[in-house]
């Protein structure tokens, strides 16, 4: 399946990916100004830029083939779509026990405790668009959305 791959040699640490991720999941979809100014509690970014200068890169759910989070989920809310391969959390049913946080080898699940506790994670913007918002807005092609990228960035 297509995944988002980070190429750390080109990540400039701007965190635009985080900013656009937040906007893509806000109720004012993709409107940055409204998302940050009007939404009382804007969503949490589902992508995380890790940085220790000069190295930085963005990391989000890898949508594992054999996703541990889906197996560990105690309520069965975390599921991998058999057709698209996208791993999503059915937030309605999630009880915020964080067992997925315990098993996700990438640390890609964040605890969203703004309201009813839910495990928040990258959904590849699957309900939204062709291209995940982070990839679309990365100014330096440090994120690529593709089947597989080798270490030197070639497909």
């Amino acid at each position: 399946m297509k995944r988002v791959y980070a190429r750390e040699e080109y990540c400039v640490g701007c965190k635009l990916c985080e900013i656009y991720c937040i906007a893509a999941h806000s109720k004012y979809k993709n409107d940055l100004v409204k998302t940050f100014k009007k939404e009382a509690n804007p969503p949490i970014s589902r992508i995380l830029v890790e940085e220790s200068r000069p190295v930085s890169f963005a990391l989000q759910c890898r949508h594992c083939e054999d996703a541990p989070c889906t197996k560990a989920c105690i309520v069965g809310a975390m599921q991998k779509n058999p057709k698209t391969g996208v791993v999503t959390n059915e937030e309605e049913r999630c009880v915020g026990c964080w067992t997925c946080v315990l098993v996700c080898p990438f640390g890609a699940i964040t605890r969203d405790e703004r309201g009813h506790k839910v495990a928040s994670k990258c959904d590849l913007c699957s309900d939204n668009s062709q291209m995940p918002a982070c990839v679309e807005h990365c100014p330096n092609r440090a994120l690529v959305y593709s089947e597989y990228v080798s270490n030197n960035g070639t497909k």
């Binding site: 190295v55 560990a72 098993v103 605890r111």
Partner: protein, 424 residues
């Protein structure tokens, strides 16, 4: 080909999904003595507290059996297995013939000897029916004694206390959650719960449940007595191996399984709380009564039952729970005994903050994360993959510890691994 599964919880569901990944046709029959659609066992305390409805408790959707063409025999108990004739006998004497069998009967409460167990309002706490029974007798202002300050006991306590019940917990060990926390961690958790009004009697046990027909209190070995309207015995679970006991299937503490989750008898598999599979940290077979392990073993069993070669390399103890907003994640060895361990600690009791990472020969073998649990899974994966952490050991405790702290080579190889991540 006829698949028969005894059990209807995480391991059984894992098996159904495992089988159906490979074999979409052959019939599956699933037997459970609980008369319910598969539900999430850990949610029973949420159910007790009214935080989830019965419907929200379902572990898989209403159409699960139908979608996977599973014939269910709910409310029926399997009582014997004949591995020669490949038959399972039910309590109603019906006999099912199987080609492949999975025993996923889970755990059964361990009940230590004490007088008065037969009285009314003495409960265990592992099934939905337990909650239904308890719900009938609880009300604000009632008093409960819970025997056992393990995970189940504390969850029951939290549930009851949120309903206004006055709860006292009696625990034989010197601390709460002794299986998954050390003293420092346990101390923080106990104080956190005490602030919410839960009382503890540590280092002692219940001698007798007092009262007439109904329980009215307990007397403790330390001489104290506590009055109570109900008593919940939550000392632990042990493998529910009953159905295999008079068969040829090898049973140690649990049903012994190999890496394909097959028992000592061909075509018979076991998974979940009833099984004794490989523990990666202890390098020996152990019962690991946790849900991720149950699902993975079940799935592996299912895949193998349907003819696909699949291996579950093993599990280890790991838990993520929280009480009143205090989350904790622990895994592996949390209180090392013996030589050769290195322990990294950050402890700030005033903030209920505790991080402890246990290493042996530069390989992480266990950790406790209290309050700050974010990205704990990275540590879990270091345990599972037995990664040598010598190059970044001093960074493990950092709040922001992450992939940035791994050597570049390791980081890159792990990040490309999404394709091949294997079952936990």
């Amino acid at each position: 080909m006829h698949y028969v599964i005894i059990g209807n919880s995480a391991a059984a569901v894992g098996a159904v999904e495992g089988i159906r990944k490979v074999d979409k046709e052959n019939p599956i029959t699933l037997i459970s003595d609980e008369p319910y659609h598969t539900y999430s066992r850990p949610l029973i305390s949420y159910f007790l507290a009214g935080k989830v409805t019965e419907e929200k408790m379902l572990y898989r959707g209403q159409d699960f059996y139908q979608k996977n063409t599973v014939t269910t025999l709910l409310g029926q108990k399997a009582i014997a297995i004949d591995t020669d004739s490949k038959e399972v006998r039910l309590e109603n004497n019906e006999v099912l013939v199987y080609d492949k069998l999975l025993v996923a009967t889970g755990g059964t409460p361990f009940i230590p000897p004490m007088a008065g167990l037969e009285k009314k309002n003495v409960f265990t706490f592992i099934k939905k029916d337990d909650v239904k029974a308890i719900s009938k007798v609880v009300a604000t202002g009632k008093k409960a004694v819970i025997v056992g300050a393990g995970l189940i006991g504390l969850k029951a306590a939290e549930g009851l206390s949120s309903l206004g019940v006055d709860v006292t917990i009696v625990e034989l060990a010197n601390r709460v959650l002794s299986a998954i926390l050390d003293e420092d961690g346990a101390d923080i958790v106990r104080k956190h719960l005490e602030k919410r009004g839960i009382k503890f009697e540590l280092n002692t046990s219940v001698e007798a449940i007092t009262g007439g027909e109904e329980a009215q209190g307990v007397t403790l070995k330390n001489g104290k007595s506590i009055s109570a309207d109900l008593v919940i015995v939550a000392v632990g679970v042990r493998p529910n191996t009953e159905v295999a006991e008079n068969s040829k299937i090898a049973v140690n503490r649990g049903i012994v399984i190999d890496e394909k989750c097959q028992t000592s008898i061909q075509s018979v598999y076991a998974a979940g709380d009833v099984a004794e599979g490989y523990d990666l940290i202890f390098a020996q077979n152990r019962v690991l009564p946790i849900l991720p392990n149950a699902y993975c073993q079940g799935e592996t069993a299912g895949l193998n039952m349907a003819g696909s070669e699949s291996i579950f390399s093993g599990g280890f103890a790991m838990n993520s729970i929280g009480f009143y907003g205090l989350p904790m994640i622990t895994a592996g060895i949390v209180k090392p005994e013996g030589n050769g361990y290195e322990v990294l600690v950050e402890l700030v009791p005033e903030q209920s903050l505790y991080k402890k990472i246990i290493l042996k020969d530069n390989i992480v073998v266990g950790f406790i994360y209290l309050n700050k649990v974010d990205r704990a899974g990275i540590i879990t994966s270091l345990i599972r993959e037995k990664t040598n952490v010598v190059d970044f050991k001093e960074k493990l405790l950092k709040d922001s510890f992450g992939y940035i702290d791994l050597p570049q080579q390791l980081r890159k190889s792990k990040l490309l691994k999404g394709d091949s991540m294997s079952c936990w």
